[in-house]
């Protein structure tokens, strides 16, 4: 396992080079770098179609200093599984000696929606690979359309806040629980503001003897409507409001980590949902009187999910 001092992490080879074309303030490259710090073994990366894919591999350039592959949108898990399968075949025949780890990065659209079937299949088959969802809660690459990861009330370009509609009408899908239900060795939620928590979880995911799934909240300045220098602050707020709890599920056993563990223990404040809304333009319409029922319902849902999670950690 990689040593978790910044000094030691700094010595790791740069796997995703700078100079890519992601937006200023995008969390995705931060998340990818933190995840890739989770192992000192060789790593092969696959990407589902999305912001990171189009921003890091515009031919004839590539930002990847490790083996990289992309095929399509809804099949990142199958793409990664193909690498792992070939690796097993070639290793068995003595054509590869070294240890190689496999990771697929995908957005929420590629994970919660179009790629769910391929992901479920790969997890059930037990490929030793890590699947990382960089969840920015909408189809950002095509211009901020709602996905099943988009939260209640968020204004997107297909769920507008208009005169008769207050943004998205539904709560987000609980994707992390769906992955836990696959009974894979390692599932976790992370946030890029807490690099130590993320790198630690990535290490556990890479070391797991089977599939691992990590769901990372990925604030998007463009889609969430906040200044690009506030990405890390917003990510932290997601955890502090319990909109995005930090936890892991190791062989079925739930445990809260970092700030979320401190909030559950009463050692840190659980901030109100209105702090989360106030920080982002996509929720601007919720800061009005007519939106009060939505805000109350949302707070109740966040509380319900949070209390359920705490109960799960007590099992």
């Amino acid at each position: 396992m990689t040593s978790l001092s910044l000094k030691e992490l700094n010595k790791l080879p740069v796997r995703l080079a700078s100079g890519h074309r992601l937006c200023a303030g995008c969390a995705e490259s931060i998340i990818a770098k933190q995840i890739l710090m989770g192992t000192s073994d060789e790593v092969a990366v696959s990407l589902s179609t999305g912001c990171m894919e189009v921003s890091t591999t515009v031919f004839p350039y590539t930002s990847w200093n490790v083996p990289y592959i992309h095929t399509a949108f809804g099949n990142g898990a199958a793409t990664c599984a193909g690498l792992e399968t070939a690796y097993n075949a070639l290793k068995k025949k003595g054509k590869i000696d070294e240890e190689i780890r496999f990771v697929n990065f995908a957005g929420d659209g590629a994970t919660y929606d179009i790629g769910l079937q391929a992901l479920s299949g790969a997890m059930e088959r037990g490929h030793r690979m890590m699947y990382v969802c960089m969840n920015n809660e909408a189809y950002m690459n095509t211009g901020i359309q709602r996905s099943s990861a988009t939260t209640l009330g968020a204004s997107t370009t297909t769920s507008w806040a208009g005169s008769v509609q207050m943004g998205k009408k539904e709560y987000s899908k609980d994707m992390t629980s769906i992955m836990v239900a696959h009974n894979i060795p390692y599932v976790a939620q992370v946030s890029p503001h807490n690099w130590r928590d993320t790198v630690t979880k990535a290490s556990k995911g890479f070391e797991a003897n089977g599939p691992a799934f990590i769901n990372a909240i990925s604030p998007c300045p463009r889609g969430w409507r906040f200044p690009s220098d506030r990405t890390i602050e917003i990510a932290k707020l997601a955890v502090e409001t319990c909109v995005w709890p930090l936890f892991e599920v190791v062989d079925g056993k739930y445990a809260l980590t970092a700030e979320s563990a401190r909030i559950a223990a009463g050692k840190a404040e659980k901030k109100p949902i209105t702090d989360w809304f106030a920080a982002q333009g996509r929720f601007k319409h919720l800061m009005t009187e007519r939106a009060e029922p939505i805000v109350e319902a949302y707070q109740a849902e966040v509380d319900r999910r949070w209390e359920r999670l705490i109960k799960l950690t007590e099992l």
Partner: protein, 387 residues
């Protein structure tokens, strides 16, 4: 030693792949292909192959997993049919553009709707523009032989394209025929070891596969695939010649039967080529000089080889087991184009037949070719259907 066995087409394909012993196979069951993966799974279960066998949750994942596995440096094969190929379709041009030379058996079956499980070429034809090599099989022997020939063409470093091995659903997949099996050592020696170019798992030389192309590169990359297809024509002829030396069985870009002195030629694909040969014999007995030919290699389209066969003929009938609704059968315009290479173009007729498993009989073909010879045929005939 090679010896004769009785086997159906699906099992013959599985047998060829058992003898090749690929690194990876990922597949999903679909009629009439299923016997191939069932049989191959049995080989896996009994330790008769060293292959990593993955039962994926869909055909989309089957072709995806095979594409990245092949990119990684593993010899890979799969099999599908009909809706399975349709579900894979998104990946077909990606697999080809990534220049991954994997092999896929296609147990040709009609595409829904209406849903139909019987044979026609609708599935294969939907993939003809995607950059895949395509071989067609007249009988079980050819389905087996093509499975052994395909990797040699596909994996050639001047080609590097995926290849579909087509065999007619039920007519070949489920019918037991007599076939000569090649000795496994000879198969292994003929196919050789897979030597991938720029394999992804070469971590000392990291490469990026599947990058995004802007207009400056997308079009030139497509043209590179065209050049690879052109090269595949030469490579296929070389491989056919080597295969003939090994087995005595001769294949050509376009297989032909009694065409040399024929006035009328039928162009046809797959198992119906055999039906057409019998038709030719019967018409010859009646004094009508008919011949027939089958593009054994359908992609790349063997235009020059076909043009040579069609030179000086009075009329040509193109039998298509698929239909571009609102136009012609898919092969017809391509045969017409090939014929124009000769200057004088014979009278050209299109015959649509056998869709969704409709009967393709000697009697029907005979009547059709008599109408072609007498000049009574229509430009396009829907054989067996009253309009």
């Amino acid at each position: 030693m090679s010896h004769d066995i009785a086997i159906n087409g699906d099992n013959a394909v599985a047998l060829a792949w058992k003898q090749i012993d690929p690194d990876v196979c990922a597949a999903y069951p679909i009629t009439p292909q299923t016997i191939i993966v069932e049989k191959f799974a049995e080989y896996v279960a009994n330790g008769e192959v060293s292959t990593e066998f993955v039962c994926v949750e869909s055909e989309h994942s089957a072709l995806t997993l095979c594409t990245s596995s092949c990119s990684a440096g593993a010899r890979t094969f799969t099999a599908t049919a009909s809706q399975g190929l349709a579900y894979m379709w998104e990946m077909l041009p990606i697999t080809a553009a990534m220049r991954t030379p994997l092999i896929m058996a296609v147990a040709n079956r009609a595409v829904s709707g209406p849903i139909n499980i019987n044979n026609d070429h609708g599935d294969a034809m939907s993939g003809r523009d995607t950059g895949w090599l395509q071989l067609f099989s007249e009988n079980v022997q050819e389905a087996y032989d093509n499975s052994i020939i395909a990797p040699r063409i596909a994996e050639h470093h001047d080609v590097q394209l995926p290849c579909m091995v087509n065999l007619d659903g039920f007519i070949l997949t489920h019918a037991i025929e007599r076939m000569t099996m090649i000795d496994t050592n000879d198969v292994k020696a003929f196919v050789g070891e897979y030597k991938p170019l720029y394999p992804l798992l070469d971590t000392k030389h990291p490469v990026s596969h599947g990058n995004m192309d802007g207009p400056d590169f997308y079009y030139p990359h497509k043209v590179q695939s065209v050049l690879a297809m052109d090269k595949a024509l030469e490579v296929a002829e070389e491989v056919f010649a080597e295969f003939a030396k090994l087995t005595g069985r001769e294949y050509h870009l376009v297989d032909q039967y009694r065409c040399e002195d024929a006035d009328y030629v039928a162009v046809i694909l797959g198992s119906s080529y055999g039906t057409m040969k019998e038709t030719v014999d019967q018409l010859r007995d009646e004094g009508i000089k008919v011949g027939c030919c089958m593009p054994h290699v359908y992609r790349p389209w063997p235009e020059e080889a076909l043009a040579k066969i069609l030179a000086g003929k009075k009329a040509v009938a193109v039998f298509d087991k698929h239909l571009s609704i609102g136009a012609y059968g898919p092969m017809f315009p391509e045969v017409v184009t090939a014929a124009t290479l000769n200057g004088d173009v014979p009278k050209m007729y299109n015959v649509i037949y056998g869709l969704g498993g409709a009967d393709a009989t000697v009697a029907g073909f005979k009547k059709m070719m008599e109408a072609v010879a007498s000049g009574d045929a229509k430009r396009i005939t829907y054989l067996g259907v009253k309009i």
